[in-house]
């Protein structure tokens, strides 16, 4: 039994880990072919390593963990850097005046609570659910047309108070099917639907909100001066971006990068 120690014992671990040069590998393999004790030991170590690698699989990352990490990074980005503001005397004076006016206004006018503060909704989950409802036809379109202008006019007739921008995605293989008015996080939403020739669905929504209403845990990408917030909810990817006072979102079960590229293509600077 103890004869192993006088053979290639010290090199078996390196051989199993692939940490030997080809010359050493050849020499040890020759030895293993003719030495049962060393071969048994090599086999035991090799198989243990394989079994360990086989059984150590990645687990699902809970959304709350990624949200927590992103939030910590946000805090770190703010507190870790020096507060860097530009030296503008008039800007400071204007900001102070604005703060004073805002403070007085708050005392005089009781405005409705902003959507972000009043509701704890996961907009990514809601838009992903809307996508699934459209895909399963549980939520039918109220207006069918392949014309962006006609769908925009429908939204206006239906009482959508903000300007909608229904874009033509024909160049990217997506054909407009129509739209419906909808509610998202308690606010009116203009929802319109595209489909490719092979049936791939893309759902877009526009509604009045800010990015502060988005849940944490997004992948943030900046493109052409606009920040895009990508979320994964099950097999659905949602990408949000702001256009003035309106938040736009695309939802699809296509490849996440493809959804992001579609959002880049259609985002308008406001």
């Amino acid at each position: 039994m103890n004869g192993v120690s006088s053979h290639v014992r010290d090199e078996i671990d390196d051989l199993v880990g692939g940490r030997l040069d080809s010359e050493a590998v050849r020499r040890i393999e020759l030895h293993l072919a003719s030495c049962e004790p060393c071969r048994r030991e090599w086999n035991a170590v090799r198989r243990t390593r394989e079994a360990l690698r086989e059984s150590t699989k990645e687990v699902e990352l809970p959304p709350e963990v990624s949200s927590r990490v992103i939030a910590a990074l946000d805090r770190e980005a703010v507190s870790g850097s020096v507060v860097r503001t530009q030296f503008r005397v008039w800007a400071w004076a204007a900001a102070a005046a604005a703060a004073l006016i805002a403070g007085v206004s708050l005392l005089l006018v009781r405005s409705p609570a902003p959507i972000e503060a009043s509701r704890q909704v996961d907009l990514a989950e809601q838009t992903a659910r809307d996508f699934r409802l459209i895909r399963s036809s549980e939520t039918p379109l109220q207006f069918r047309s392949g014309s962006p202008a006609a769908v925009e006019a429908f939204f206006k007739r239906a009482g959508v108070s903000f300007p909608t921008r229904v874009f033509d995605l024909g160049m990217m293989g997506y054909r407009l099917e129509g739209g419906l008015t909808h509610r998202l996080a308690g606010r009116p939403s203009a929802l319109f639907v595209y489909r490719t020739a092979n049936g791939k669905l893309l759902v877009c929504q526009m509604f009045e909100a800010t990015v502060a209403s988005l849940p944490p845990g997004s992948m943030i990408r900046k493109h052409d001066g606009t920040r895009f917030y990508r979320f994964e909810r099950g097999e659905t990817t949602t990408v949000f971006w702001p256009e003035g006072s309106v938040l736009c979102v695309l939802a699809s079960d296509g490849a996440p990068d493809e959804v992001l590229q579609l959002a880049y293509a259609k985002a308008a600077k406001v």
Binding site: N2, N43, T48, L52, T56, E64, V65, L73, R84, Q86
Partner: protein
Amino acid sequence: MGAYEMNSWGHRKGSARLFIAYYNRRVAHRNAADEERRMNFEAAAIPLMKTVYSRAISLAGTREDAADLTQDTYLRAFRAFDTFTPGTNCRAWLLTILYSIFVNRYHRKQLEPESMPVHEIERLFQHAVYQETESRSDDPHFWASEDVARALARLREGFRTVILMVDVDELSYEEAAQALDVPIGTVRSRLSRARRILYTELQEYARRTGFLVGGEQ
């Protein structure tokens, strides 16, 4: 105040304007650099969070501790992102940070693995090796995954950390040594013993469940 005195001299007033313009340019430049740094970090590191969290669970044992460990890893990585070379192995870089935090902050006291004399580990290992027939030993799925996970969890942390680093995460001996703050020779010897203890333990499970000669069934 010195600034007002300088304003009474025409050329010094101009100097103050130049300083403000210079300061504003510097601020704008640094803000843009901060933004770019954050974007680069997110692009490189965020997609690996599942890997980091998975390993944190293997190390910490509970999901709560694993979440803490993951967050600490990302914060430290973000602070040290300037030391990361783009295009190199971000996964290995993050995992090295994870292991380093785990070792230093969480379980330094429990990392001394000398629970059993080396010769005793070797004796038990050799005994297990010779109980196994050669034909049986070629089966890669001979041990159940749950048994492997259980045996891994039973390893003392000093062994478990090293075997995860090297065998599962494929960190080099140098990276493992650096994260653990021990000599490379220590990494090698712990790895060797960890593999043998794990094998011995797995064979013991197999014997108890009747899959090896001498078992209960």
